[in-house]
Symmetry: C2
Amino acid sequence: MRINRKQGEMKARPVTSQRRLLLSVIQEAERHLDAKELYRRASERNPNISLATVYRNLHVFEKQGLINERHLGQARCYYEMKRLGEHQHLVCEACGQVIEFESPLIRKLVAEVQRKNNFSVTKVELYLEGHCHKCKEL
Amino acid sequence: MRINRKQGEMKARPVTSQRRLLLSVIQEAERHLDAKELYRRASERNPNISLATVYRNLHVFEKQGLINERHLGQARCYYEMKRLGEHQHLVCEACGQVIEFESPLIRKLVAEVQRKNNFSVTKVELYLEGHCHKCKEL
DNA sequence: ATGAGAATGAGAATCAATCGCAAACAGGGC
DNA sequence: GCCCTGTTTGCGATTGATTCTCATTCTCAT
């Protein structure tokens, strides 16, 4: 369960107030944020924070494995805290609601793909789009 | 097996030479193209074609269900002819190679998600990233 | 052949994301 | 506590992809 040791020795990163702020905003968020929304929320508490800093730190957090970067349909990226239990997204084309789900089939599927292709998979992103029960009827 | 009738009556779209050209380039492509590459290839046969036309028609083709839009990791979109047998993508982080795969588990998974969430799924995009057997060793 | 509506080309506009650089900061050593 | 070195930050400029605008051209049913 080593945190960060030898083997890729992570250089100590200064803990800056911006970094702390950004991480708390992400943690407090109910769900995924995109960079702009994160910037907006962070700006409320530190009006000086720069959008570039937001992007830079998102990359840092991702590299550190603190957050996940997700693509929800559009080109824009969304970010969320890494949680236990990988989940995937189901989006309604019509009303835009995002449902999170998980299934043991995913692990099974990934295992199969890894085996068949001799790959070691590090990232799984399943994106389903469709119509929710409400929008189906319209 | 109706082609396009009542119920959403698709308005006739003029068949333009650009449209025809773009579609053949996409069909002749071995794999996914992004807009720029499509533009490059189309320009070889019609140097006047505009990048805007490429984008416009990609959207048209997608709406018509002729092509699929895929997101391969990065922000950029890739397009490919719709083929029988949905396939998904496995990308090596290191060397960038893209492997296509399919598995009956995907259909099963989608069925499960549809049932549990009372959704009707119209688009399935599974993106796996990792290291291929060659890059694992480096 | 004609007219109405749709599509095109070219460049401007938009939007997300990145970069370059000078100034400010964090953290270890003294 | 103070200094030094390497990081990080803010800012403005930049890139790159995609979309928009609009005058012109084209397709096709009549």
